[in-house]
């Protein structure tokens, strides 16, 4: 079998939402869904060389199973240009029939060769976190406690070992956004702080708060000190409430 040497590789970044029933699929499930959707759309995805070739897709930070998102990303390497410039509307129409309800492409663009991977470059995520439990009536105080603390030491298990971390620096912003809901910016580097870990920190020693419905609203890059989304939503994008209604 002869293989054609890749002469014109192009990379595209796709932003999509994960809402409704489909939020119960895992990160790996979503990767497989994308592989099939791209094949159905006959997008000429590049494959790795070797004994067991696999398509060159790279996803950003894994979204925990069960959480929703308005800002998931995927970088795809293809063997030929999909248009210069890319016709985003046509591209979305081409992909859409292959994706399950709840996974919707919101934006896409070609990215320059050498663009750092999502995994490397995302520094922070904005989360909307529903809170359950008795402690909800003291939520405002708990938020103030957390914001006022110099350090929040938690012990968590990593690779079978108990590690003690100060998670306070990872809480970049935190605010109440409803009766039982907070919005938080949580750092992803040097290590991600998960929404469930924030809820544990809010519980303090009382352990009377639980995680409700969680949505990742944004992922952020840091470009020359300013924060930017890996791919902003176009102005005419499907509004989030509308997409959420369709997916549930």
């Amino acid at each position: 079998m002869t293989s054609v040497v890749a002469t014109s590789r192009h990379r595209y970044r796709i932003r999509f939402s994960k809402l409704g029933k489909i939020r119960f699929t895992s990160h790996r499930d979503v990767a497989r869904l994308w592989e099939r959707a791209l094949r159905r759309a006959t997008i000429p995805v590049a494959y790795s060389e070797g004994f067991s070739p696999h398509p060159k897709l790279s996803f950003g930070l894994a979204l925990p199973t069960g959480h929703e998102s308005l800002g998931e990303y995927l970088d795809v390497e293809v063997t030929e240009s999909l248009g210069d410039p890319l016709d985003v509307g046509a591209f979305i129409t081409r992909l859409d029939p292959g994706l399950p309800i709840g996974l919707d492409v919101q934006a896409a663009a070609e990215i320059a060769p050498g663009t750092p991977s999502l995994q490397q470059s995302v520094v922070c995520c904005t989360w909307r976190i529903g809170i359950q439990g008795h402690g909800c009536n003291q939520l405002a105080e708990r938020v103030d406690d957390v914001l006022g603390a110099d350090s929040i030491i938690v012990t968590r298990e990593r690779k079978g070992q108990h590690v003690t971390d100060d998670v306070r620096p990872a809480i970049v912003a935190l605010d109440i956004s409803g009766d039982a809901e907070v919005v938080a910016d949580l750092a992803t580097q040097p290590r991600s702080l998960r929404p469930s870990e924030l809820v544990a920190a809010l519980s303090g020693g009382d352990n009377d708060l639980g995680e409700g419905r969680v949505t990742r609203i944004h992922q952020w890059l840091s470009i020359d000190g300013a924060r930017e989304e890996p791919l902003p939503l176009p102005l005419d994008a499907t509004s989030a409430p509308h997409a959420e209604a369709r997916a549930s």
């Binding site: 079998m1 119960f24 699929t25 499930d29 094949r39 159905r40 997008i43």
Partner: protein, 635 residues
């Protein structure tokens, strides 16, 4: 009808692999239910990952939803974590399509592919909010039915099933729909009336309409219909021509990981190789090939529709499909169906070099393992079981595989076969060792995995009279192989738990008296018996003893020709005297060639139903001698 999704959604964050409960598959249907339609809940009594790919269930799902008078949705057994939460919150078994409660359906139809799922059937009925015993159900409860290979001996489940379907389901589901529709539109008066009407449908067996009497020694005296209109013997259904049934047309593509996660195209149904241990080969006769053009079309359109990059050509022995080479070549070379390389898998490979040649062609892109099933370690033993693979065939296949780049292969064997001696058992080790020797000529790391299963005699096979080996005997044989192979680094030995084999044997040839045993095991928590973490032989031992029954009598006893077998009032089309003669031939170590390419020996499967083989090629495939009449048989 209402959806339980809002309640279920709140529970899913607390269970493992929640995606198996959401549906959302490509190809899933969202049928509207109308009071005049008959609604079916097609239920696979094991996990979603195992059940979703089941092709039989998917075929019926499409056929029923195409009918204006029917709707069908699907359900799978929830894993124990979700089941506990459902029971705690008073929620029922539900469909994954519309998340409707199971008791909202007119028919709960189970697929029975394996005996160890029987306790799960009871659990699903109970979780549906329906009495597990058919005698206790009222007209408002769903009718509980079952189909699939295990229904050729439905007797252990006779107390729990309202009706049982034998054979191919494509046509009979429509006839059942019509009968139930009439009953439903007339106001669902009594269950007796609809069950009696169902018993008139060819291929439908209603266990409650038969009485079983017993002899003093415990054997069955007779099984007799309780009413004149009820047939004495229920014949299986067979579709004459697979070409008329190009299903599934829209194979379900799940959103989460399942077994056999690929496009599946059934290339033929039935098999007449005549392996005597193989129930599937006996009960699905005759051979009905799908036309090659239809196969090609189903592959191309299926790949394009699903986005899969792998297609399995399914049947009981795919290398026997006429023109297999051409179909495979065209599929591998077809670049129009999508992007990337398409790989083809042939799940049931014949053992010969020809087959390996095809495999080499199709696994250019991703070379996975190669699996062969010689089934027995010596030529004598293979003649007994009529798996007529010569050592030349096997070693030719092995040589061909290693020389073309494979480094490991898997060999499947049975132990506990009729007339098996220790020499036969140890022949397995000998064969494996020789295969590794051949492999070492090509790769220093060549290896073979030997997988050994305990033999379970099945109804409607020539071995249905044979007393199964005991757990001790099967364990001893596995021990012989372990001792023989423990120094061979190139051979890895795996075996099936002989205790699970014992209970498979119990359910496989059991009768109605096992009903209370299955119920007791289930009530004490014995679900998911296919899963080793849930299987506990003591539950079965205790339940058998409590109900005054002997495992030894059911499992290890040899039957005689005159014994009334629990499934004698069921017909798979095979003449009992054919099976008996084949059993005598087995004991005499006489092989029987494949009737596709040689003379008919009147097993009954064609002649009884006025149908015949549909095979595109009048000559046997190249390359293998096994069972094609190319060996000289002395009879």
């Amino acid at each position: 009808m209402s959806s339980i999704w809002p309640e279920l959604e709140a529970l899913l964050p607390r269970v493992a692999k929640p995606a198996r409960y959401i549906g959302c598959e490509q190809g899933a249907q969202a049928p509207e239910h109308h009071p005049d339609q008959v609604s079916w809940l097609l239920t696979y009594p094991d996990t979603y990952e195992i059940g979703l790919p089941n092709q039989g269930l998917q075929i019926l799902y499409e056929i029923l939803n195409e009918r204006p008078d029917a709707v069908a949705e699907r359900a799978y057994a929830p894993w124990t974590d979700l089941e506990a939460l459902l029971r705690e919150h008073g929620l029922p078994l539900f469909s994954v399509d519309g998340h409707r409660p199971a008791s909202d359906f007119d028919i709960l139809a189970f697929n029975l592919s394996a005996e160890l799922v029987y306790t799960n059937v009871l659990n699903c009925i109970d979780l549906a909010g329906v009495p597990v015993r058919s005698a206790e159900r009222r007209p408002e409860h769903p009718l509980v039915g079952a189909g699939g290979h295990c229904t050729y001996n439905p007797e252990p489940l006779a107390d729990f099933l309202d009706f049982v379907v034998l054979g191919d389901g494509e046509e009979v589901v429509s006839e059942i729909t019509e009968v139930v529709g009439v009953w439903k539109r007339a106001g669902r008066r009594t269950r007796d009336s609809v069950l009696l009407d169902l018993a008139q449908v060819p291929g439908v067996y209603v266990p409650s309409l038969y009485d079983v009497s017993y002899l003093d020694d415990g054997r069955i005296a007779a099984v007799t219909p309780r009413l004149a209109r009820v047939p004495e013997r229920v014949e299986k259904r067979t579709i004459a021509d697979l070409a008329e049934w190009p299903y599934p047309k829209e194979q379900l593509v799940p959103v989460t990981e399942v077994v056999h996660d690929r496009l599946n195209v059934e290339v033929f149904r039935g098999c007449t190789r005549g392996c005597r241990f193989c129930q599937a080969g006996m009960i699905t006769r005759p051979v009905r090939e799908r036309p090659a053009d239809q196969v090609r079309h189903m592959i191309t359109s299926g790949l394009r529709r699903t986005g899969y990059d792998e297609v399995a050509l399914t049947s009981l022995s795919t290398a026997d499909f006429s023109g297999i080479e051409d179909v495979v070549r065209d599929t591998v070379n077809d670049t129009t169906s999508g992007c990337g390389n398409v790989s083809v898998s042939l799940p049931s490979l014949r053992v010969d070099a020809f087959t390996v040649g095809i495999a080499a062609q199709i696994q250019r892109a991703r070379r996975t393992g190669l699996t062969f099933a010689p089934e027995a370690g010596t030529w004598r033993m293979r003649q007994v079981i009529n798996k007529l693979i010569s050592e030349e065939d096997l070693f030719g296949a092995v040589e061909s595989a290693y020389s073309q780049g494979w480094r490991r292969m898997k060999l499947y064997f049975l132990t506990g076969l009729p007339t098996e001696t220790d020499e036969d058992t140890l022949g397995i080790a000998e064969l494996a060792r020789k295969c590794v020797e051949i492999g070492r000529r090509y790769h220093t790391s060549a290896s073979v995995t030997v997988s050994v299963g305990g033999f379970v005699p099945k109804p409607f096979t020539p071995f249905q009279w044979f007393g199964q080996n005991t757990v001790a005997e099967l364990s001893r044989k596995v021990g012989l192989l372990r001792d023989a192979l423990h120094r061979d680094r190139g051979v890895q030995l795996k075996w099936h738990d002989p205790k699970a084999t014992l209970i498979e044997g119990l359910a496989s040839r059991g009768d109605r008296r096992l009903g209370p045993v299955i119920e007791t095991v289930w009530r004490r928590g014995g679900v998911f018996q296919e899963w080793s973490e849930h299987f506990d032989i003591r539950r079965w031992d205790e339940a058998m003893a409590e109900h005054g029954l002997s495992i030894d009598w059911y499992v290890h006893r040899h039957r005689t020709e005159d014994e009334v077998l629990p499934w004698d009032h069921i017909s798979a089309g095979l003449h009992k005297d054919f099976l008996w003669q084949d059993w005598r031939d087995a004991l005499a170590e006489v092989g029987l060639p494949d009737c596709r390419w040689t003379a008919c020996y009147d097993c009954g499967a064609c002649t009884g139903y006025g149908i015949e083989h549909i095979v595109a090629s009048a000559t046997p495939p190249a390359g293998g001698s096994q069972g094609t009449g190319q060996l000289v048989f002395v009879r």
